[in-house]
């Protein structure tokens, strides 16, 4: 089994109702892609549960946008909750990239 695609969600702490929308979308993707995707949630200002992807880490230092969503280290959407379609497309693209490697 190859390494799972990492989804990263950056949300407020405590979460707002829109943050919960972000998480609902991301969790639905994890359900749709069992064994292929995992989700890591970063809460603003709180210790990281694990090292963020370089792109997300760069975004932490550069800007100040809530929320931000990444798949496999690539930016999906920021400043609003993503749609299921947007995240799914990003995951499919990441899976294709992994498959071709």
């Amino acid at each position: 089994m190859s390494e799972k695609i990492k989804l990263e969600a950056y949300i407020a702490q405590p979460p707002t109702s829109k943050c919960r929308e972000v998480l609902a979308v991301m969790e639905e993707i994890v359900r749709r892609y069992p064994d292929q995707v995992r989700l890591v949630v970063f809460a603003r200002g709180m210790p990281w549960p694990e090292e963020p992807s370089p792109a997300l880490k760069y975004a932490f230092h550069k800007g100040s946008t809530v929320p931000m969503c990444y798949a496999d280290g690539r930016f999906i959407v920021g400043g609003r909750p993503p749609t299921l379609d947007e995240v799914e497309r990003a995951v499919e693209a990441a899976l294709r990239t992994k498959g071709s490697n």
Binding site: P14, T16, G45, M46, E51, K57, S64
Partner: protein
């Protein structure tokens, strides 16, 4: 363009409560429950730490506790700053769609009223870098932004009668931060309007001038008003669960006993190590590093735990890190060994 905004002077000077109100406002502007607002704010002696800063390495926590200086982690990024009633901050809360400008343009837009206010006192200030207003080479006003879903916050700190010596004492920035800058101390890098004018100034008068310039330049009519009941309730909740907690404001205290740092071409590196009997009990590596293998440092920290100091250089050189970072860490380990 003529807009009507609330002008808020809530008078909340406790640093923790103060930031709970900031967060309540951005949340409620996003949800459409609060109007666009300019908040003029002041706090009693406090240090504001950036949202991702390590409080323990940026602030002299013990000194602040002994002298009644509160420490609060703010919502936006940037460096640690000292505040007292001699300075004031502004926060403009608005739906992002109100201004068509880019984020960079907003920094310039909101800096111009500051520059004009300085000019009112005969002080020539200029916009510099990404978000600063300088007098000569010294910073007199700093700014930060937060994009929070549909809402946006443009904040600024205006140093008026700031006690620069107190600021110097409360903050303990790593000396290396100034290594490539011409001015090394905080007092050499920042100034206040009072210092430039040569006399104490009335903060309320400076605020009034700034608000007039903001109104004129941004085409905004400001109507004084108070916090709503909903804003107060949310602020109280955020104060209880977040802003009054050490977990938020201080984060976890480093267990490591020695912290050393150096500069590499990739940025500053800090190594904290807890050494006992010639062996590393725990290690923590931080810095401004952007590595392609984001987990390499975590793995190295784990590998170093339990390792003898004499064996540690070989462990570092075996880690999948750039050669210059490896050598920097080996040098830092030697420094730790010297201090152990």
């Amino acid at each position: 363009m003529s807009l009507e905004w609330r002008l808020l002077r809530d008078g909340i000077t406790d640093a923790h409560h103060h930031f709970a109100v900031e967060e309540a406002l951005v949340r409620l502007v996003d949800e459409g429950h609060s109007p666009p607002t300019l908040r003029l704010r002041q706090v009693r002696r406090a240090v504001f730490v950036g949202v991702y800063q390590d409080t323990w390495s940026e602030v002299d926590v013990d000194y602040c506790r002994q002298h009644g200086i509160k420490i609060v982690r703010r919502l936006n990024g940037g460096g640690a700053v000292y505040h007292d009633l001699g300075s004031f901050c502004t926060s403009a809360f608005f739906p992002r769609t109100v201004f068509p400008h880019s984020d960079e343009e907003l920094y310039r837009l909101f800096a111009e009223p500051v520059i004009r206010t300085c000019a009112d006192y005969g002080v020539a200030a200029r916009f510099a870098g990404r978000n600063d207003v300088l007098v000569g080479q010294r910073k007199i006003h700093g700014a930060a932004q937060i994009a929070w879903y549909s809402a946006f916050v443009q904040s600024g700190t205006f140093l008026v009668n700031m006690d620069l010596a107190a600021m110097e004492r409360a903050l303990t920035p790593p000396a290396l931060k100034f290594a490539d800058k011409p001015a090394r101390s905080i007092q050499e890098r920042v100034t206040s309007l009072a210092r430039e004018v040569g006399r104490e100034l009335d903060v309320a008068e400076v605020q009034a001038r700034l608000v007039d310039h903001l109104a004129q330049l941004l085409g905004i009519e400001f109507a004084p008003d108070e916090l709503t009941a909903q804003e107060r309730a949310l602020a109280d909740e955020l104060l209880a669960v977040k802003y009054s907690s050490d977990e938020w404001n201080l984060g976890a205290r480093q267990s490591a006993g020695v912290t050393v740092s150096t500069r590499t071409p990739g940025g500053m590196v800090l190594l904290s190590a807890d050494v006992d009997g010639g062996a590393i009990r725990a290690a923590r590596i931080r810095g401004d590093l952007l590595l392609s293998d984001g987990t390499a440092l975590e793995r190295l920290e784990r590998d170093l735990a339990g390792c003898r100091l004499t064996d540690a250089p070989a462990v570092v050189r075996a880690a999948p890190l750039p050669a210059d970072l490896q050598e920097a860490l080996v040098a830092l380990l030697a420094e730790v060994a010297d201090n152990a």
